[in-house]
């Protein structure tokens, strides 16, 4: 009597034609454990089957790239024999079901992807998208996700130094929790996951295995429906204290010379780690599941192989080195067990209670992992919205409303729950264009940012993909850092719908163009699809995580105005583009029109100019112009200044006032320049063929433009007040 029924096959997310392929590969019907292994290895989450074809088009090479996509994380060379290891990953589905644990294990998982390669994690960031504040679940999800990220990250002792948070109704049923980790490694002590050496021991260490998180991988690739609440046990449970022990134990072990290959147990736990390590090494693996440390009795082979219990690692040791590794694990009070050996059969053989319970070929399963060329339809280009067709509100009133809208309101209530200073190297704290974290013991620093404007991607995924990369490039350049490389977290709806697949294809094309033209390669990433509930998909969200390098940390630039009486210089052209702008949405209640186009060659020139001006000490403050446009950017520089320095801006000569103030034209920076340096700045701009104009002066404690004014204090109160009030805390005030 075969255990496998069509119903069981469907439950495992395997399509009929995929099951036919399984029968060919196995030469017989699979048993339940084998079917489970196929289902997680071929899940969207692990196999990238709907996006692989297009991901291959992304540029991944540059002289400073040591390791691109395909390993646990991407690696770039920052000189002096040091490397930066980083990646971003999503825990969207679990976080909707159980926000605290879903978000916490998202942080735990991405941390492991980085330190498994030999890097000490030095900074965490997160990109969050929640539903509309009026949605009844939003407040609960925000509170849970933030507490989970803080609860895990603070305990592990890695600073959470920034990120971004958006609110939009398209995320009502599908929030996004994308977590990013940046680590520091020695260039000649990096560890990869390809197994080697027939007969070498396969070693498990970390926490014990339980039944939590089974089918987390397949659930990550399933649409939500009303029964999602029942999936609560599939959400993994995290233990940050064990993770801290795991970090220290791993790094201590990696200082010895006993490891051949190592990988963390992430999605699909023991299955994906053992399978991928063997497959990359072209070897077979034999595991004795009885020797796996377990915290529950009577676990079946199926449960052991598919469990996604957290804080577990798998490694291949050099022969005879088990005792060296065991001693280190004992010191850190972690479980340790030799659970199998590498073989030359090219097969995965699992034993339980002395019997073979699974026997499957590795390479055929890996090679035959489906790669779909799904039908797609490029979305229609939307018309350009003209400024005359957009109502012009008093700029002072509109500015106050924008600064208090959910997307622009201060996120202090969130990042004050994150320890952003532990490890003593946080030079620029949350709230700026990018976080700046010193490379411990040196004068260098990395700048880190996460960026994406989902409303642009909804309007035009191609342009939105370009803009996400360009904005990350600008945010890094605004601190003086040289942009080096990018990781991404592609969050989209159901790829089986041609219009959604069209969003994925166009966004990846746009990202690829920007990465290529800006010499800003993709070195790692993650894809999360099926972010859809009862047929409505999220706004396309190709989140970008980017890292840049500052050779001299003392030269890092911030966005706060430093003094009164300076010139405010705008770099870049302004045509007053209001299509898909925050002004149009938050003030006029309209979400329409083509997003602002990105001129990549000009972005590059402006980035080089800005970095040179900062390097030469010719600017006192620098901020990129993004959501909300010019007036919002200037207001942010005033609100961030220590003594509330205001700004008097000249009215535009040609453009309507509201288009000048709130247009979201791309490729623009606002600089604070002293009178003494003004000529040099304008000359340098000319040399770089960059449009540069003085648009006003700093001073006073008011922001004024076109005869209207509002005090910086009023703006700060509006900006700081929304989130604490929304989350129910009393006004935090200071």
């Amino acid at each position: 009597m075969s255990q496998i029924t069509p119903e069981i096959i469907a439950q495992h997310g395997i399509k009929p034609d995929e099951y036919k392929l399984i029968l060919e590969i196995m030469g017989r019907e699979p048993n339940l454990t084998e079917l489970g292994i196929f289902s997680v290895m071929w899940s969207e989450h692990c196999s990238y089957k709907s996006s692989k074809k297009w991901l291959k088009t992304l540029p991944t090479k540059a002289p400073w790239v040591i390791c691109g996509p395909g390993e646990n994380a991407g690696i770039i060379d920052i000189g002096d024999n040091q490397a930066i290891v980083f990646k971003m990953e999503s825990h969207n589905h679990p976080s909707f079901i159980e926000p605290y644990q879903g978000a916490a294990t998202g942080v735990g998982g991405i941390l492991r992807d980085v330190f498994t390669m030999g890097a000490r994690p030095i900074a965490n960031m997160n990109a969050l998208r929640f539903g509309d504040p009026s949605n009844p679940k939003t407040r609960h999800l925000v509170a849970g996700v933030v507490a989970g990220i803080g609860g895990y990250g603070n305990c592990v002792g890695v600073p959470t130094v920034g990120g971004e948070t958006n609110f939009h109704s398209s995320y009502n049923g599908n929030i996004l929790v994308n977590a990013m980790t940046v680590g520091l490694a020695d260039k000649d002590n990096i560890f990869y996951s390809a197994a080697a050496g027939v007969g070498n021991p396969v070693v498990y260490f970390g926490s014990k295995t339980g039944r939590d998180g089974i089918h987390g991988a397949t659930m990550a690739s399933a649409e939500f429906d009303e029964k999602s609440e029942e999936k609560r046990p599939t959400v993994q449970v995290g233990d940050p204290f064990t993770e801290k022990l795991l970090i220290e134990a791993c790094l201590e072990l990696m200082a010895t010379d006993v490891i051949v290959a190592i990988q963390d147990m992430g999605a699909a736990g023991l299955t994906s780690s053992s399978f991928e390590m063997a497959s990359k090494g072209g070897l077979g693996v034999e595991l004795d599941l009885d020797s796996v440390p377990m915290r529950e009795q009577g676990m079946t082979a199926y449960e052991i192989m598919l469990s996604e219990s957290q804080e577990r690692m798998l490694m291949i040791l050099k022969p005879g080195k088990e005792d060296v590794a065991r001693a280190i694990m004992d010191k850190w009070e972690l479980d340790f067990a030799v659970i199998g050996t590498l073989t030359d059969t090219g097969r995965m053989v699992l034993k339980r209670h002395g019997e073979v319970v699974a026997d499957l070929p590795i390479d055929p399963l890996a090679q035959a992992s489906p790669e779909y060329d799904r039908p797609w339809v490029a979305p229609a280009k939307l018309p350009v919205v003209k400024a005359e067709d957009v109502p012009a509100e008093c700029p002072a009133e509109a500015l106050k409303k924008l600064l208090a809208c959910p997307d622009l309101a201060s996120k202090r209530w969130i990042y004050q729950q994150y320890d952003h200073m532990v490890m003593g190297d946080t030079v620029q704290r949350p709230g700026g264009d990018a976080a700046v974290v010193r490379i411990h013991g040196t004068d260098k620093a990395v700048a880190i940012t996460t960026d994406c404007t989902p409303r642009y991607c909804q309007a035009d995924p191609h342009e939105g993909g370009r803009q996400a990369v360009a904005e990350a490039y600008r945010n890094l350049s605004a601190t003086g850092a040289v942009p080096l490389a990018v990781t991404d977290n592609l969050n989209f709806g159901n790829p089986e719908k041609p219009e959604i697949m069209g969003q994925i294809v166009e966004a990846i094309k746009g990202m690829g163009e920007a990465c290529r033209d800006l010499d800003f390669p993709v070195v790692s990433g993650n894809v999360s699809l099926y972010n859809e509930t009862q047929g409505t998909a999220i706004q396309p969200t190709p989140a970008i995580g980017a890292v840049g390098l500052l050779d001299d940390v003392s030269k890092h630039m911030t966005l706060a105005f430093k003094s009164a009486g300076s010139n405010i210089v705008l770099l870049g052209e302004t045509k007053g583009w209001l299509g898909a702008s925050l002004y149009l949405r938050e003030i006029c209640g309209r979400e329409e029109g083509a997003p602002p186009p990105v001129a990549l060659h000009r972005e590059r020139r402006k980035g080089e100019l800005v970095r040179q001006l900062i390097q030469d000490g010719l600017v006192r403050a620098c901020h990129d112009v993004s959501d909300g446009g010019l007036l919002v950017a200037v207001a942010e520089m005033s609100m961030a200044s220590a003594d509330r320095v205001g700004a008097a801006l000249d009215a535009p000569s040609t453009l309507p006032l509201h288009a000048w103030c709130f247009g979201e034209d791309q490729g623009r920076y606002v600089l604070e320049v002293s009178d003494d340096d003004l000529v040099s700045v304008l000359e340098a701009a000319e040399e770089h063929e960059v449009n540069a104009r003085v648009i006003g002066k700093t001073g006073g404690h008011v922001i004024s433009v076109g005869g209207r004014a509002v005090t910086v204090d009023e703006l700060r109160e509006a900006n700081e007040g929304w989130l604490p009030a929304y989350m129910g805390a009393e006004m935090s005030g200071h």
Binding site: A147, G150, G151, N154, C155, V156, G157, D239, P240, F241, T242, K244, L245, W332, E333, Y415, Q416, Q417, Y418, D419, H420, M421, V422, M423, G424, D425, T426, V427, R429, R438, V553, S554, A729, G733, H734
Partner: protein
């Protein structure tokens, strides 16, 4: 001055404290693993911040009973200076080196930000380079910093000058608005009766370098080097 930093599983700020100590001492402190029983001869013992034993049971409860803490208590009784920062303050209070207890923050959330502190007593080795009434800026990062002690003991401590710091505003005003966690009398740190043990929730080691945003914290480490060299 010779110093030791105790490292528990889950201590996260041990390296930060070592960096700040080295900047003031000009030499590295001993890093002592919690399972080591003998502690080198030192003038200062620092119990750093972090999440020792994951804060399970109660913050600092398990660490307080580790073998090394018995040795730290003995040294404290013999007159060595002991500095407990954040989780370290919780540990040395649980170990009985200081009166009182650290409860969960009144607003029930972890809070990480700069705070202003009023120096209450400058006649100790920890505060030589501060003046009573000074306002200094240190960061806090904790979820259980709500200090409490029985009222009569509190009055004795106040009369005795055992209150080290109180949360205040930029101008030194102590009020409910400037209290980030609900602690009794805005207390941020206290001494024992012999003034050789100081526990405080704020992290002086995190603002001991202008590049990180301020250096008020450096003066505490400089004070100790001055007093104990």
């Amino acid at each position: 001055m010779k110093a030791a930093v105790i490292v528990f599983p889950g201590s996260n700020c041990d390296r930060d404290v070592a960096v700040a100590l080295e900047a003031s001492m000009g030499a590295k402190p001993h890093m002592v693993w919690h399972r080591d029983t003998e502690l080198p001869a030192v003038d200062l013992i620092v119990v750093p911040g972090g999440f020792s034993y994951g804060d399970y049971l109660r913050c600092g409860a398990m660490a307080a009973h580790s073998p090394i803490m018995r040795e730290v208590k003995a040294r404290a009784e013999a007159g060595a200076r002991v500095l407990g920062i954040c989780n370290g303050f919780q540990i040395i209070t649980e170990a009985g080196l200081l009166p009182g207890v650290l409860m969960r923050n009144a607003q029930l959330k972890f809070v990480c930000k700069d705070v202003h502190l009023k120096v209450e007593n400058d006649r100790t080795d920890f505060c030589r380079y501060y003046r009573s009434g000074d306002v200094v800026r240190f960061p806090i990062a904790h979820a259980e910093g709500n200090y409490f002690v029985e009222p009569h003991t509190f009055r004795e401590m106040e009369d005795n000058g055992q209150i080290a710091f109180r949360y205040c505003d930029r101008d030194g005003k102590v009020s409910a608005e400037t209290n980030p966690n609900g602690s009794l009398g805005n207390v941020a740190g206290v001494y024992n009766s012999k003034f050789n043990v100081l526990g405080l929730m704020p992290h002086p080691e995190r603002l001991a370098e202008d590049l990180l945003g301020g250096s008020d914290g450096k003066l505490m480490f400089d004070s100790l080097v001055e007093a104990l060299s």
